[in-house]
Amino acid sequence: MLSRIAESLFWIGRYVERADDTARLLDAFLRRVLEDPWTDEDAECRSLLAILGVPAPRDVVQNTGEIMRKVAFDDKTASAIAGAVAAARENARGAREAISSEMWECLNVTWRTMPERRRAAARLGPNTYLDYVRERTAMFSGLAESTLSHDDGWQFLVLGRSLERADMTARLLSVQLLTADQPVTWVTVLSACGGYEAFLHTHGGMVDRSRAVQFLALDRSFPRSVLHSLTTAEQCLASLNPQLARNQGADPARRVVGQARTALEYADVIELVRDLSVHLVPVQEACASASQAVSRRYFTYATPLAWAQELV
């Protein structure tokens, strides 16, 4: 497939996942701030901004309204929800003939109705906005799953999604949370990954740090765990490059993802739980360098032209 289209699909995957993850994260944290009378709003907001990698000035007190403006409503930066949706839609617009009309329409309509939802959120609270984003991203994923051929384009879409997801869950776990010893914090963290109920099914109602971390980092069945996301990314890379079946390390993207996955998979669980950032920051780095390696390997259309010499 065209390199340019492949790149668009990869980024659509990333942006849609980012919008979804950010909405879940915000939803869980806002609920926590609202429900828990002892929370320190400023501190909670700072943790959330740290997870998303958004700078928070020391001297300005952070509150939920400010948070929504920064990481939800801002349509100028792709790290906020509205911006991620706009970026996904812009990529889809350039790949309209390559994706299904339904996928395009889904993103187009979502993008068009975001301002309306923002106004509704001002009246009814942030939930209507965040719920909408989750619904629409789920709809997009469903349409992609059922109306796009599962060929290379699909692999790029899923690859983008998986790398974004691995990165997001890893970020969530690697940030030093102030109240990390309280079970309620881990309920919030699990909810922020859409995994609270799945966790209950797996481990029962006893939420503690060790179990929650193991679930979100290492669970093989939960689709938003870091391990599961890295494994999916590896599978995508493998099917994009079937020639390399005998020497998987020869693909630079595959190598970094594979290394990150095995490092996590065979880590000492006690150490992992004790020092999350040591184990999870490398995962974030691996996602970034895998993304670069994929760009170099597949998205090469922007290389400078060398036609001048060939003219005789």
């Binding site: 497939m1 065209l2 309209r96 390559a98 329409e105 187009n108 597949y298 259309y301 036609w307 060939e310």
Partner: protein
């Protein structure tokens, strides 16, 4: 109770729907009967639905960096089979003539030697490209796609307003309009037998494949677009999708050893036929504008070497120059030895000093057009122009008579159009699309009807505030293909008899109801 046609006052022009107030023409009888009982609220509701459908689907054109839906009017334009027959013959004739002319211009030049068209007309055309002189396209086709703009004059006769044989656009709206109309007024549509328009992409693909370079049996066809900021990007994407081919931008392409290739995730892959929606000037920085990023350096050489076909061909602009337009009826007789089926609008060539003098004296009665304009740009409609505009155009035309033509203002026919909550007459034109596969010139039954939305306006281009109507060409009852009979369908295996119990679909475990 007032009906929606009550306030409809005929304008000083041929009305498509009404012969006289309240009396529809034969083609419109069914439509009139179907629309009349509707309330204006109902019309408005459907019109809103239409517009939202377009915005959601992204059926837009870009204007000043903004995406806007192309307004589609709820009331279709209907054309009888017999009338359409003349349009088809006239358009095909025009395309065959222009093909012959282009082959002549870029070849032997008989038409100049025989004195039918002055050579100076071609040498002074900015669209004459020496880079393609002496080059014969693989199957002889240069005009793979044509859009011939027609208007209906005061007497109801179709006339050609201009020919477009470079990169005519608008066919996507024909396809999308039909889809939207069948959804928003299904019952009205169902009462007519309308020729379908969905065949277009397949016809286009066939023509493009037929134009493949010699020796290529399974050609790779692709569409070349300037990118998502182009006004017609939606159309480029739609055609690529419906033909199942790649939509390329300049940066996807590379030319090496006179071969055109596209950059894919599996390395570079050849492209054999390029349906380009990029103007000549931007196609190849080696030959044309050196600052263009929209094309691919080396493309023209690759085409000249016979490794890639560019459709439509480079240099077609000489044939849709508006000064050449005045010669087309002569060219029909010269090349085809036929009488023109469709007349031109009366047009004045301004290179003759006497005619120029006469025209300059009565600019306020005429329409003045630049010979190389498109999209309604630069047109001055004398009777509607301000004094300053007329003074200005006087100076411009006097200093460059080759650059302009003058035409009698035709009161374009009108059709009922929903403005606010009323149906009012608005001027319309018609752009039928023709596809030439080298064997046959096929004319899409339908075409784009454009509407000038402001009252009295005569310029219909979308960039000038135009809208469109779905164009219904009624099928000739005599040509109906009998439908497949029910008895043939009986041969299909029955689902029911295969099912474990009668009529049931496979179902999961059912919830047991309490027995008492």
């Amino acid at each position: 109770m007032a009906d929606i046609f009550d306030d409809y006052v005929l304008a000083q022009a041929w009305d498509e729907m009404f012969e006289m107030p309240g009396v529809p023409r034969p083609a419109y009888e069914v439509l009139f009967a179907a629309l009349q009982p509707l309330e204006s609220d109902d019309l408005n509701f459907r019109a809103e639905q239409l517009s939202r459908m377009f915005t959601d689907r992204g059926v837009t054109f870009a204007m000043g960096g903004e995406e806007r839906p192309f307004p589609l009017d709820l009331v279709p334009r209907v054309i009888m089979a017999s009338e359409w027959d003349a349009v088809t013959r006239g358009v095909a004739q025009r395309v065959r003539t222009l093909e012959a002319f282009l082959a002549d211009v870029y070849g032997p030049g008989r038409v100049f030697a025989d004195g039918v068209v002055p050579r100076s007309l071609i040498t002074s055309s900015i669209h004459m490209h020496r880079a393609v002189h002496g080059f014969n396209p693989p199957n002889g086709v240069r005009v793979h796609v044509a859009g011939i703009d027609l208007v209906r004059d005061e007497a109801g006769a179709f006339r050609v307003l201009e020919d477009n044989v470079r990169v005519p656009s608008g066919v996507s709206y024909v396809i999308e309009n039909r889809r939207a109309m069948t959804q928003s007024i299904p019952a009205v549509f169902g009462e007519h037998r309308v020729h379908p328009v969905h065949e277009y992409p397949a016809r286009l693909l066939t023509a493009l494949r037929a134009a493949a370079p010699a020796g290529v049996s399974e050609p790779t066809v692709a569409v070349l677009t300037p990118g998502i900021y182009n006004a017609a990007y939606f159309e480029h994407a739609l055609l690529a999708r419906l033909m199942g081919v790649e939509l390329l931008e300049g940066r996807d392409l590379v030319c090496r050893n006179n071969k055109l290739r596209m950059r894919t995730t599996d390395g570079e892959r050849p492209v054999h036929v390029l349906y380009r929606r990029v103007d000549d000037d931007f196609l190849d920085p080696l030959h044309f504008r050196s600052d263009s990023q929209m094309g691919c350096p080396g493309l023209i050489n690759a085409a000249r070497a016979g490794n890639v076909t560019i459709a439509n061909a480079v240099g077609n602009g000489v044939a849709d120059d508006k000064l050449l337009y005045t010669y087309v009826p002569d060219l029909v007789r010269y090349y085809l030895n036929e009488a023109p089926v469709l007349d031109n609008v009366e047009t004045y060539r301004l290179e003759d000093p006497e005619i120029l003098h006469d025209v300059l004296g009565r600019l306020h009665e005429l329409v003045i057009k630049p010979v190389d304009g498109s999209g309604g740009k630069g047109i001055v409609i004398g009777p509607q122009a301000s004094e300053e505009t007329l003074v200005e155009i006087h100076g411009v035309v006097a200093s460059n008579p080759r650059g302009w033509i003058a035409q009698r203002p035709v009161a374009l026919s009108t059709a009922p159009t929903l403005i606010g909550d009323r149906l009012v007459p608005r001027h319309i034109d018609l752009r039928p699309f023709a596809v030439n596969d080298g064997e046959d010139v096929w004319v899409l039954p339908g075409g784009l009807t454009r509407v000038a939305l402001p009252e009295g306006a005569l310029v219909v281009n979308s960039s000038q505030g135009g809208g469109s109507k779905d164009t219904w060409v009624l099928a000739d009852e005599a040509q109906r293909v009998p439908a497949q009979r029910a008895t043939d369908l009986a041969a299909l295996p029955s689902r029911v008899s295969d099912a474990p119990f009668s009529g049931a679909r496979d179902a999961g475990p059912t919830v047991q109801m309490a027995q008492q």
